[in-house]
Symmetry: C2
DNA sequence: GACCGCAATTCTGTATACAGAATGAGGGGA
DNA sequence: TCCCCTCATTCTGTATACAGAATTGCGGTC
């Protein structure tokens, strides 16, 4: 693997896992020393992270980890809701029925995974498989590209949410509705059910954010 | 200005103006010599163009200018229609009324600009001002980012379209409907009128593409 | 005549040196 | 005591050298 890929992956993970909270300043030499590579691949990694919006260039102040304020999260979902709803609509029209039939069966049993003690790994893996199947079936490069662009920010946002058991059960039900609509080829239902799911997810995140009296992570600018 | 910015702007313009048609291979040394700078800023420019999707990395074959096939144009509009409709909806709710009142008056007189001989510069400038005002009023960073991501590809696609006078007059009317809806704060009309306008624009481009028996530019993969 | 292998050329990826710009601290003057 | 100017430090931007990988072309062999 190239050194620039390694640096990109390491820095990206550091940001997504909140090891570098918003506002952290990045300097080339510092990170080059830390990762034991030269400045050249670091520069490339910085460029990719800046293009993704995880880093922002403060004029005269270098690169800092971007903020993730309440309003940013709202704007994130303003875009996410419209494009993922449209993606779901297209998937309902274009999907391989067998693939989603299988996923439907798995989501029908998802409640068991959620009662599986504290190990939600299997459930999250199932959601990831659904996402991957939808990416595959969307078959629209720009739509997919826009979704991919949002994902790193969503990963950060999700860490602000408190997922309680009730919310997870509800979310699993929402997913099941979406998958059923896709299996049935009901594109309008797939789109609307996706919008419902995402609006509820947003509400859950915002409730967590607003409930938090003070965290270093939040910056309600 | 930085050398990497110069290189990026030059290469981007070369691609958008079809001086480098799809499939053209890019090598670092070659472009560094052509633009009389070293490979370092060229690498940064390549990275930005690749992130935008104007260049694609063919494994083992270097970077080439991305294709713009019929299906790519369709996929481009699949995304464009949903996000620009949503943007128009938000603008109708968030706009500064005076700004769009002014634009409404200008679009009401747009027919005169279109009869202004072959100089359509003023009309295109008016459309550009509308785009800028909408970008400003959208006030949603991710939505705006997604639109910006599409623009370079739209510039390329537009060069494939044959804009006849009738189409331009119709488009001006569609724009007027959109601006009126925004002035009135009618978000649903603004969204639907935008979708209508973009679907007609797509149809116009596809008619031009399909009408072209053979051009070196097209690659119907 | 065709296919396989080797060698040379070329390209990318990385490291590093150097120059110019900007920032921050420290000292001097008002 | 506060403000401004200057100098030093540090950072980014660029050039370039070097190494490893890959491709292409040529030659030999089957």
């Amino acid at each position: 693997m190239r050194a620039s890929d390694t640096a990109y992956a390491a820095l990206r993970d550091d940001i997504l896992q909140w090891r570098f909270p918003p506002g952290t300043a990045f300097a080339e030499v510092e990170q080059a020393n830390r990762l034991s590579i030269s400045r050249t691949p670091i520069r490339e990694a910085f460029a990719r992270l800046t293009a993704e919006g995880l880093l922002v260039a403060l004029p005269g102040r270098g690169l800092v980890v971007s903020e993730l304020s309440r309003s940013t999260i709202v704007e994130l979902f303003e875009l996410r809701i419209v494009i993922e709803s449209e993606a779901a609509r297209l998937v309902a029209l274009r999907r391989d029925r067998d693939v989603f039939e299988q996923l439907r069966a798995e989501f029908a049993d998802a409640a068991a995974l959620l009662d599986n003690g504290d190990d939600l790994g299997e459930y999250y893996a199932l959601v990831a498989r659904l996402d991957a199947a939808m990416d595959e079936a969307t078959n629209s490069r720009f739509l997919l590209g826009a979704i991919r662009q949002l994902r790193p920010h969503l990963v950060r946002a999700r860490r602000l949410a408190r997922d309680n058991h009730a919310r997870l059960v509800a979310a699993a039900g929402e997913h099941l509705t979406i998958v059923e609509a896709i299996v049935d080829g009901d594109d309008q239902l797939a789109a609307d059910a996706t919008a419902v799911h995402l609006r509820k997810s947003l509400k859950n995140i915002l409730d967590s954010v607003d409930g938090a009296t003070t965290t270093t992570a939040m910056n309600n600018s």
